[in-house]
């Protein structure tokens, strides 16, 4: 499969860094760990710097560039070696890959920011294009649908990769959601600044997911996951929400 994104496929490395993201760290650590396990299972050395915190996106998106830069600089320090940085979230990956260069334009450490940005890869993209991971499905037959996060799709160019992974699971049937790429209404601070609009969006999103008839909804972004799963739980939806890393690991671990 040819990558849709603008950046080249790197050679298969021996060692990778893992950037867990702050949401995963606090709310979905099992999903984060599953991503690391998948990489390790493929024979890679996975390094998780304990000094990592957050990509800085919440501040940048609010217009607090100074604060965002300060937090980004802490990541430069935490990931010093030239290894690829794998991120189990399209949104945080997009922040680092697409927005660091612009955030640091004209700053003394602009070159460092650009070099860092060029090492960032979204997990599913990396699994497909760099590792060409083969998945032996050990689970029961299951129907799932995919939610593509806005930043995954439109910033990282990751559109079909996660679905490709789901298709590699022999017992999993993927049903397309016609509104797959429509925003779930999370938008970071948007969800709490404009809760009612955000609520309308996530309610529609849940309805479109339920409309597919799938038993589970899989996604690759923890912001969306938190938003959609929260709305599903509140409305008593029968659909089970999952992060793709955790889903893949479970299906293939037997």
């Amino acid at each position: 499969m040819t990558p849709a994104s603008a950046y080249p496929v790197p050679p298969r490395p021996a060692t990778v860094y893992y950037f867990g993201t702050c949401l995963v760290d606090l709310f979905y650590p099992d999903a984060g760990l599953a991503g690391m396990d998948l990489l390790r299972r493929e024979g890679l050395k996975v390094v998780f710097p304990q000094n990592q915190t957050c990509c800085g996106q919440p501040a940048r998106n609010t217009g607090m560039y100074e604060e965002a830069r300060a937090v980004a600089r802490a990541q430069f320090k935490a990931f010093p070696n030239p290894w690829p940085i794998i991120v189990p979230s399209g949104s945080c990956a997009g922040m680092m890959r697409m927005h660091y260069p612009e955030l640091f334009a004209g700053e003394p450490d602009q070159a460092e920011a650009e070099a860092f940005a060029s090492r960032v890869y979204e997990l599913t993209w990396f699994l497909v294009h760099v590792l060409d991971i083969q998945l032996k499905d050990k689970g029961e037959p299951l129907t799932v649908t995919w939610h593509g996060s806005c930043h995954s799709v439109r910033e990282m160019g990751v559109t079909d990769e996660p679905k490709e992974l789901l298709r590699r699971l022999s017992n999993v049937t993927l049903v397309e959601n016609p509104r797959e790429k429509e925003c779930c209404g999370f938008g970071g601070t948007f969800a709490v600044r404009m809760p009612e609009v955000s609520g309308a969006m996530v309610t529609d999103k849940v309805a479109s997911i339920e409309g597919t008839g799938a038993a589970q909804m899989v996604t690759g972004d923890c912001g969306c996951l938190m938003n959609i799963s929260g709305a599903m739980a509140k409305s008593g939806s029968p659909v089970k929400p999952r992060h793709i890393a955790e889903f893949l690991k479970e299906r293939t671990n037997g």
Binding site: G32, G63, M201
Partner: protein, 478 residues
């Protein structure tokens, strides 16, 4: 625009729409249809990308040479017999239009659709001076009857269904029986407006593209009311923003290939009307005089900023609103601005200032759906973030009025605290510990959590962080 509406916030206005199932249905249906039609037009993605690159380059070239192109346009229009006027403010533009009309003893004018005239609030201004302005685009005519503002820049009455329109027509048109038959409603409007066209003293229109090279005004439309407004009355006044130029006639085909396809999913509009002069000797029809009013209204201020300048590439296709998940939920009136949707969220604060429209850039999830489809590749989301920044942290750019006016000590303190924690690994680990231990005990009624849980359950802090799990599972730290 209603005075009371200005005092309300986006959130309050959105609340009204979100509770209106019918209105929400109208928008959703319309937006779904428009998105599907546009997608069908640009099914060949490679062709679309090269066309978009061509269109964006044409508009970027204009911005790179704007002052000289404006002079070239003026010189060529003048040579062709079109009288050119310049207005710094909407008030100046209104006064220029009024003066021209008064010089011709004009009492009624018919209007083709023009967003700049909306920006000027021209109809209300003329009415105060005893001149009746009749909207002739069917959608504009309908909302004029309703006493409303457009809710979409291409489809002004998209928020209304045929029942509401039928009622309006029965109330306002003599002898009009109640009917929801669209063809009959359309015929009724034709009948009424035909006589207004024939009797009008002047016609007013906008401009989609003005060609500097030839001094030509290009107007596109489906109905023919634009052609009538610019042909039948003895006087034609066109109003346009100073950015609506192209360098050459050769730039028109690619831009025309982008505009209607992006807007309504049509490969071309029924009419493309290219006006280069008033009626010449020997010609039987067309206006005796054509005037062109060039409106600045803050555009030259925006132009001073290299990033914000990209906003001025906009060709007003409206595709960004058709694809905006927020617009689809709240509709055009919620923005309380002449230009709603994504482009409005970045343009309005720039034209009117942050104090007036500072909450608009926050009515966005930064989903980038608009950026993906913008036919001239405007980085709408990045400009959105830049304006959020200007609202709290003014840069030294003079481009944004009211920059810094949304700065609050509380928010600054919150972000300072955030920075302290996330820029320091030690503090972060400590903070994470605290949240693990106490986070799930936060009272549900506290700010942010309360909003969050209005439609969702509260997120649960995990027992162990990924930092801890990684260590336990033997993942190396270096």
């Amino acid at each position: 625009m209603a005075e009371t509406a200005a005092a309300s916030t986006f959130v309050e206005r959105a609340h009204k729409v979100l509770g209106n199932t019918k209105l929400r249905g109208n928008f959703r249906r319309a937006m779904d249809g428009l998105m599907a039609k546009r997608a069908a037009q640009f099914a060949d993605i490679a062709a679309w990308k090269s066309l978009r690159a061509r269109g964006a380059a044409a508009k970027r070239r204009v911005l790179a040479r704007l002052p000289e192109l404006l002079e070239q346009l003026e010189a060529n229009c003048t040579a062709n017999g079109i009288k050119v006027h310049w207005a710094e403010t909407t008030h100046e533009a209104n006064s220029i239009v009024l003066k021209i009309l008064q010089d011709h003893d004009a009492r009624t004018i018919v209007k083709g659709k023009s967003m700049v005239s909306e920006e000027m609030h021209l109809n209300a201004f003329l009415q105060k001076h005893g001149i009746e302005a009749i909207e002739s685009d069917l959608g504009e005519y309908i909302i004029q009857l309703a006493g409303e503002a457009p809710s979409h820049i291409v489809m002004p009455c998209i928020h209304k269904d045929k029942g509401e329109i039928a009622e309006l027509f029965t109330r306002h048109i003599d002898g009009q029986p109640y009917t929801e038959d669209v063809a009959e409603l359309t015929d009724a409007a034709r009948r009424v407006l035909r006589s207004r066209f024939a009797a009008a003293d002047a016609g007013l229109s906008g401009v989609n593209f003005a060609v500097a090279e030839t001094g030509t005004l290009v107007l596109i439309e489906n109905e023919g009311n634009g052609r009538l407004s610019t042909t039948l009355p003895p006087l034609h006044i066109a109003v346009m923003g100073i950015e609506k130029l192209v360098e050459t006639l050769d730039d028109i085909p690619p831009l025309l290939s982008l505009l209607p396809r992006s807007a309504t999913g049509q490969s071309i509009t029924t009419y493309v009307n290219m006006i280069t002069s008033p009626r010449k000797p020997g010609e039987k029809d067309g206006p005796q005089e054509v005037h062109l009013v060039l409106l600045d209204n803050g555009r030259s201020r925006v132009y001073a900023d290299n990033q914000l300048r990209d906003t001025l590439r906009c060709i007003r296709c409206g595709a960004c609103m058709n694809h905006c998940p927020v617009y689809a939920r709240v509709g055009g009136h919620t923005y309380n601005a002449v230009y709603p949707g994504p482009i409005g969220k970045i343009l309005t604060p720039q034209l009117d200032g942050i104090a007036v429209a500072g909450d608009l850039p926050h009515a966005c999830t930064l989903c980038n759906a608009c950026v993906e489809i913008c036919p001239v590749n405007i980085p709408i989301a990045d400009i959105m973030v830049r304006l959020r920044r200007e609202a709290v942290h003014p840069s030294d750019s003079p481009a944004v009025m009211g920059a810094g006016c949304k700065h609050t000590a509380t928010e600054a303190a919150v972000w300072a605290g955030w920075k302290k924690m996330y820029a320091s690994p030690a503090l972060y680990r400590m903070g994470a510990k605290m949240m693990q231990r106490f986070g799930n005990m936060m009272p549900g009624g506290m700010p942010l959590l309360k909003e969050w849980t209005s439609v969702r359950t509260r997120p649960v802090f995990a027992k162990k962080t990924l930092h801890e799990l990684a260590k336990e599972q033997g993942y190396s730290d270096v």
